[in-house]
Amino acid sequence: MTATASHNEVGQLDQLWRCRPRSRLLRGSIAALAGFAIYAWLCGEIEWRSFLTARRMDNLQRFLNFEIVPFPLREQGFEPGAFWDWMAALFFEHGFEAVLATLGIAVLSIVLAATIAGVLAPFAASNLATDRPFHADDKGSRPWLALRLASRTTMIVLRAIPEYVLAFLFLAILGPDTAWPAIAALALHNAGILGRLEAETIENLDPRPLRALHAIGASRTKIFVAGVFPQAMGRYLLYFFYRFETCVREASVLGILGIVSLGYWIEEARAKHYYDEMFFFVALGALIVIAADFLSAGARRYIRRG
């Protein structure tokens, strides 16, 4: 009697297990990605087996023991005076100017990006760019749909191209004399990202007050200016500062292409095999990235609070 009962129980357990809710889609996706990662490591394209050969170890040793050691310290060991002189010389000769240029490029490009995104985003938000804004399940007529699709596609394309590639292409067209290639590249790429985030913000707004505005006869533009913009402003700024931090990081790197930001001097030092100088500029870049990180984190905290 008890045996059959427990047998039944086992059967029930199996049955319940078989019809448990599960997401094949999620499982399949994870399996596919994991499978591809394993393939990536095993297919031989990543040469991890030959990573640390004797020759590479020699290279690495020379690099760490000699090449990366600041030049004046290589011969006579650590001497604070010489070390400071060396750093000061590098900093005032190129470093200071490069840091300013890097920050300048970052600031200008994020401001431009926010402007472009501010223009594109309202047309991409599905609750604003329809016949009757902020009414639920109104998909909008053909022209609105087309407009939405167009602005969305523009933004996807903009953010699909890496800023480095964009800058490289602009460099060929605009010439290397100004910082425009870097600024344009960063501005366009970030406009794509900011635009999407801003469109999502607009879509997530509470529709009720906006619907009320529409009901009392406000036009779409008026709703945007009076209702959407003030509501969404906080989040806009949040994203703005979040992307500013990345802009600083990227702006310093774009110099590698020949635009006079920090990256230019990094590449220059590398080309001359002055790895100590290269390390100095990389460290300088890391410092301003950390500073921008702090700044943007502080600004975001401030915005969140009030």
Partner: protein, 272 residues
């Protein structure tokens, strides 16, 4: 910010005219846009030696290596991110309120020290761009694809660690607290309550970062690795803009697919 922007304008000595094509830019611009509407399906060069792999095959090959580098970098970054994210979070720490003064209480001394060290490590990994890591490895080790993968994995690992630790710390604490109150240890609390709660968000974020890793891996090609960047540079130096656009379109396709996949997953799995 506005003031900073104006100051930067003068600092960089910019003029709107700088946006106009430079001396020979006109013709390049024309070629560039021609390329956009008619990307190459075959080599643009007049003379192609016999036995060269077909162009589209080469595009596919570039896409494959780009994805491989991205997947390799991302999987390693995930390991870094998981371990450092765990060590950089505080929500799993034991909350032993009794006998705080007990000198044997490791959690009172060791954990905060470890936490600061890990946070510093995360910040330094993150603050150096993947391309600069790549340059470093190039200088220290020479051209090696594993070094490229590492160059992606280090900053991405740092970013994942930062975000994961924030997710772990922002996850609701009730379940963790209740497991603690029935005698579960800190690691058990982590694996049985905090990790499952943070997992959906962590997965979507990882997916998004994979998309970024594909872009980074494409750019690494500019330093000689066989990803998109390498071919884009070569073709562009030969002024073969139709080829450039073929590679760009392939990159778009990958990014599109990943983006739709991830937003589909997000809708189906997370937002329910």
């Amino acid at each position: 910010m506005g003031l900073a922007a104006v100051a930067s304008w003068f600092l960089l000595d910019l003029h709107w005219s700088g946006l106009l094509p430079a001396a020979e830019g006109d013709s390049i611009l024309r070629l560039f846009f021609q390329g956009a509407v008619s990307p190459a399906l075959d080599y643009e060069a007049d003379y192609v030696p016999k036995g060269t792999t077909p162009f589209l095959w080469k595009v596919a090959e570039a896409a494959r290596t780009t994805l491989i580098f991205a997947a390799g970098g991302m999987s390693l970054a995930l390991v870094f991110g998981f371990v450092l994210g765990f060590l950089g979070a505080t929500s799993w720490w034991p909350r032993e309120t009794h006998r705080r003064s007990d000198w044997r209480c490791l959690s009172c001394y060791l954990l905060p020290v470890m936490y600061s060290v890990v946070r510093l490590l995360i910040a330094s990994m993150r603050s150096i761009h993947e391309l600069l890591w790549a340059l470093f490895f190039l200088a220290a080790l020479g051209l090696n694809s594993f070094a490229a993968v590492l160059a992606i994995a280090i900053p991405y690992g740092g970013t994942l660690a930062k975000v994961f630790s924030e997710m772990l710390d922002e996850a609701p604490r009730e379940a963790a607290q209740s497991l603690r109150s029935i005698g579960a240890g800190p690691l058990q609390v982590f694996f049985w309550s905090l990790l499952p709660q943070a997992l959906p968000d962590a997965c979507t974020y990882t997916f998004y970062r994979f998309e970024c890793a594909v872009r980074s891996s494409a750019v690494l090609g500019f330093f000689g690795y066989p990803t998109f960047g390498y071919y884009i540079r070569l073709s562009s130096e030969n002024v073969h803009y139709r080829e450039v656009w073929a590679y760009l379109y392939a990159l778009f396709a990958i990014v599109f697919v990943l983006e739709f996949w991830s937003s589909f997953l997000r809708r189906k799995v997370v937002m329910r």
